[in-house]
Symmetry: C2
Subunit: 344 residues, 2 copies
């Protein structure tokens, strides 16, 4: 299942509206097929693994990170019957699929066809790997990661605005890995106008994974209108017109309220700044995961967050679980997840 | 030497104007004497260890964290001749004493009396243990630790001023251990007036180690004059009148400029707040050690530091070395030391 979960990561950030599933088919202790959900959601992981396995699927075990789908679609066959027809004799699955079109029907179809089904293997890891799809299913919106890169005293820039760089090269490279794992990146108007960020993935081999760029702006005025240096973008489209073809172009999607994130073609979105945007997501309780890079410097400059409007400190406690902590050069990476982020 | 260094910690925060030295006397693989500098600086560690060892000192090895003193004083005998007279045949020392009255004369006196001297054993650890005395010798001022207890976004209070509590019980208990290791604790006027902190050591068995309390205030007006709730203190004395008897009383020492810290009867001082005071010490490059407690909360409130006035980020980098990092409950403790804090 570890291998299937690793494969599922290959699809992360590119499978909307489908989950990023991983699948490994094993026969006689040898891996005969591997698959992961392809960009745009098709083919499914199981289809890809079955294609690779060919006749070797007969009598084999399939490890899948999510319950195989039971509903046929114009875009491709349903996986549960495909697995059974290919002669898979056992399916080991991490999670049931909450999608109402499957939701137990996949397992039922397999068992009805005589396939042995084992459920709930590495379920927590699978929940984390497919957090975006699950958040969509449960809350009708993408999974939101907030990235903050701060000094020890929680600043994101000097008082004079200088922000390059707070963190070192290793931490900045890690940000690019995070970007590649998200369907969309969002910044607020202040960051957009001050930094004209490219927000692309500048890592060899991952350039084509640059996510959709989203600008959150509650102002009606067109950004940059009437002056200022022109950023490297051609134009902004209203969200009604957005399209996954926008990825990799110099185009941005504009949304004017937080709840519009639900309309983005994205399972996972990364909020990159600045202080006002970060605070607005936190105030709306829309942050599921926090990726914090802390540099060993003190600057006494611009705070990472605008006022969250808390009236007592007890409201701030108990909301974040530390799930990862390590050094990236001299900087510390800490990842926090919202306490009880998803229903178990 | 590890045992001698551990003993030296017992004196830390109470030996001004003397260094906090530790001494262990070993004969035939058995510890026959242990000593550490007593409150106020006398007796010295070596005298205490020799007293315990008695006749067993003859032919024994003494491990000392600092070169034994060579200068007789009205307050007690010089340690180098005492060790030789007691029959110690070998002295293992961590550091030479930079005090110009000793500075090599201690080792010379021992060798002249036929004692074998081994120098430079665990020198870095000894430099850290006696940082206060060494900072006094080299820079004519106490060693300064800045304590900050912050949220992940670097805040020390909500926007409405509430600051109890950012960190949990384990971190707050650790603050009391830090207090016990310092001769004096300093706060600024804002913290003094807002919180009326007791700044004592509230740990069983360590109550009598409560340090001298110091208020840094550049205003001529007497704090609390003309209104506001009265804090639990009797009065403030000008620094000219201060006295180590003030420890443990409800009295405070008032200083009106940063450079007056040199006049405090202290080897180690702990700066506890607030944002303006912390920033003024950092701007004056007077912070040798940073003790940072970080709670896993986000608040968007009052920043830990006022503007440090940096004109470029490169000036902030490379100034702090991480020397300790661990969890205290859900909070993280990190200790940083100023890069090249003391001459080697």
């Amino acid at each position: 299942m570890g291998a299937a979960l690793a494969l599922s990561e290959r699809g992360r950030g590119r499978t909307f509206p489908n989950p990023n599933v991983g699948c490994v088919i094993v026969k006689d202790d040898r891996v005969v097929g591997r698959g992961w959900t392809q960009p745009g959601g098709r083919p499914h992981a199981e289809g890809m693994a079955l294609l690779e396995a060919g006749d070797a699927a007969r009598g084999a075990t399939a490890f899948v990170t999510l319950e195989p789908c039971a509903h046929p679609s114009p875009r491709g066959p349903a996986c549960a019957p495909s697995l059974a027809e290919a002669g898979i004799k056992r399916v080991v699955a991490a999670l049931g699929d909450p999608d109402p079109r499957t939701c137990g029907r996949g397992f039922h179809a397999l068992r009805s066809a005589g396939v042995v089904v084992i459920e709930d293997v590495c379920a927590d890891d699978a929940r984390r790997a497919m957090a975006g799809f699950l958040t969509r299913q449960h809350f009708g919106r993408p999974h939101v990661t907030l990235k903050l890169a701060v000094s020890l005293d929680g600043c994101i820039a000097l008082a004079n605005g200088e922000s390059r760089w707070i963190t070192g090269e290793a931490a900045r490279a890690h940000v690019h890995v995070e970007r590649a794992r998200h369907d969309a990146i969002l910044v607020g108007r202040g960051t957009f106008e001050a930094d004209a960020p490219k927000l692309d993935v500048r890592l060899a081999g991952l350039e084509e994974r640059s996510p959709l760029r989203v600008l959150l702006s509650t102002q009606s005025r067109h950004p940059r209108e009437g002056g200022g240096p022109s950023p490297a973008l051609t134009h902004l489209r209203e969200d009604e017109q957005m399209d996954s073809r926008l990825r990799g172009n110099d185009e941005w999607v504009l949304i004017n309220t937080l709840d519009k994130i639900a309309t983005l073609p994205a399972n996972h979105i990364l909020v990159e700044g600045g202080a006002q945007t970060a605070a607005s997501f936190l105030k709306a309780d829309l942050v599921d995961r926090l990726v914090l890079y802390t540099a060993p410097i003190l600057i006494g400059g611009k705070p990472a967050l605008d006022d969250l409007g808390l009236t007592e400190l007890s409201l701030a406690h108990g909301r974040w679980d530390l799930t990862e902590s390590r050094m990236l050069g001299v900087d510390r990476l800490q990842v926090y997840e919202r306490t009880a982020c998803l229903p178990a």
